[in-house]
Subunit: 443 residues, 2 copies
Amino acid sequence: MEFMDGKWKKSSTDWEQLLSDSLLNQEAVVEGAVHSIRNMGDVAFIILRKREGLFQTVLERDIPECSVHQLKEAMTVRVRGILKNEARAPHGRELRITDVEILSAPAEPLPLAVDKWKLNTSLEAKLNKRPIALRNIRERSKFRIQEALVRAFRDYLYENGFTEIHTPKLGARGAEGGANVFKLSYFHKPAVLAQSPQFYKQMMVGVFDRVFETGPVFRAEKHNTKRHLNEYTSLDLEMGYIDSVQEIMSMETGYLQYAMALLKNNYEKELSLLNIELPNTERIPEVRFEKAKELVSEKYNRPVRNPYDLEPEEEALIGRYFKEEYGSDFVFVTHYPSKKRPFYAMDDPADPRFTLSFDLLFRGLEVTTGGQRIHDYRQLIAKISDRGMEKEGMEQYLDAFKHGMPPHGGLGIGLERLTMQLLGEENVREVCLFPRDMNRLEP
Amino acid sequence: MEFMDGKWKKSSTDWEQLLSDSLLNQEAVVEGAVHSIRNMGDVAFIILRKREGLFQTVLERDIPECSVHQLKEAMTVRVRGILKNEARAPHGRELRITDVEILSAPAEPLPLAVDKWKLNTSLEAKLNKRPIALRNIRERSKFRIQEALVRAFRDYLYENGFTEIHTPKLGARGAEGGANVFKLSYFHKPAVLAQSPQFYKQMMVGVFDRVFETGPVFRAEKHNTKRHLNEYTSLDLEMGYIDSVQEIMSMETGYLQYAMALLKNNYEKELSLLNIELPNTERIPEVRFEKAKELVSEKYNRPVRNPYDLEPEEEALIGRYFKEEYGSDFVFVTHYPSKKRPFYAMDDPADPRFTLSFDLLFRGLEVTTGGQRIHDYRQLIAKISDRGMEKEGMEQYLDAFKHGMPPHGGLGIGLERLTMQLLGEENVREVCLFPRDMNRLEP
């Protein structure tokens, strides 16, 4: 009988060893995709793309097993050779090839020059050829940065006593109601795709006190803008026994600090490839919704058109204001008007026209919406009734409150928006592996 | 201007402090839900439920602010008092109450006795009242164990150079084709929900070499069994430059070892509440599909009915065989017949009637399907054509191969099944927060 013991001895040399001194001037084996070939006549540089980065290999003359003319970009190969110091190579190392094994060969030449520093092509073309375009070193780095943002979210929340939950994306009714849900037939019953895990995460506060989820949400919104996706990844948390809404904002600030530290310590390569300077998250200013409107209206000579909502241009100006006045890339805008927040938002007892809620703007774009929720059953029922809403389909949600819920609140972060702002991208589609918008359902 | 700095000083005492000696015989503040009340006449024990566990508080006599008759189960409270050693209390500690603040009160008594050690009710009733039923200490512990399984998956794969990806759940076509997909209208275009991230994770191997995803998958299967869900969480990985299919099995073995260690070190409380003995994962036997059939047929006197597939009963017997013969709760069954595996499975060059694939059985239930995939474009096209399949809708997937893909393979683990087997549950719905089956779309 054969057994697996979880220990696998790779037949190739690992990245750390390639860069360490232990194998210098000795034999090593490197696997990778042929990223580019520079044939100088007497010598050819074969640059391999590995998950850790590019690695230079050198074919000094034709060898019996392989002529440079046999090699093609996008082949995957296993090369054997002698590891040498070479100051001009990436990472100061190269492999002088003694043997090449071709693992796979492409059937057609690449449709995009993925070995260029910047992919010189339109967003549309990149998205149409996504699996190829992402082979560009800078393109793929964006998603390593995105990984760090999700990873930090989870790790920070684990440390803070949160439990991770997985809530259903298929349900009988949307959390916020309304028209922006995708509908489908579920074994002949009407069903919808979850717009957010809102109801579920609240109900789970009654169980675990603190919960989070990182998962897809679906919005059938007919927006076709640079900052909207119809499917995106939402980083959601909900926490009970809060002292105030500010405790939620504090938790988000702590997360951002943790994320920047993780990026700085573990994603240095990608930050450097993309030339990213991390924003300061030590102190994030908070300003009331009304005050923010007033400040930018005064400073930038802009009349307030809609007193109940922030227009995208206004958000951008608030971002600019806090950058100019306080040097901050982030600002919490608090106390949004009650009529623009969902029924479950808690009104401010000091002035019920406003809610104990907030948005976080990052460089002038909303990346988070959060707030304290109503936890008292009677108050929740009264609010639903005030708004002329139906309780149908919310029975289970309301039951959780009927049987006691602690004071609580939470937030949802749009992962792609957060990534977009961090990377200074113009379009949210740049930082979604396979974006879904009104016109795009493929690849 | 006010600033958030990410440091929040809670007004209540944290769990570690409650159990440490630093506040012994001093004042502390405990928040929680009233889990149970034992009124002994001259003294009442108010057991609070916190995320970390149960904590005993004691009302020795009525105080001006609070009589025991005012307190109800499912209230949430903040109590102040003096912290005392008490050997008979959980964790050996209790709080002698001096003050009670009621944070919220239920509108109706609880419909289930959540304070009982075991919820004495049917699965159906538990699922109908899920947000309440999960307040039972043992019920909620199952999902902490589940958390550890996902967390370990990610952490182990981060350590092994995998990149986390988020692939779309809405698409134009299912990965495996077939009838088992949920269909919907996406802005007047036909769309389906992803049955698995299979195509996407394979395409991303061409970009990141090693990728993983933990997310929901949707199966419109008309199975109503104890081990099927129509929406579940899939732990998927895909890795390039593999030496053989066994390298994938080795990665899974490593993951399981890592998960058991994480459970042992960080989830002791939950293991003990549920009385779970962790399985040995040091050595996992592997056996060929045909051999496994033969072994159980001989040992248990059972004729082989279907030579191409394993019936559930046969899986159970294989599990039993390897437990009896090798003391193992796990067994890799390898080399499944080609005709029962998807088109992208790589046939064994030594005998193309079989594939370089595997299932992992855990206590007689399949919890993982994996294998090496075809990476050569021409071979993939030939297989599609042999099967009489349409290439329509797979253009992007095939493009990735046309432009070069490394040898690769991967696997998908059903999170709920893995949890179910670890916990010894009879029904997979027990370990899904909000299960979706043919008859259940709520809560």
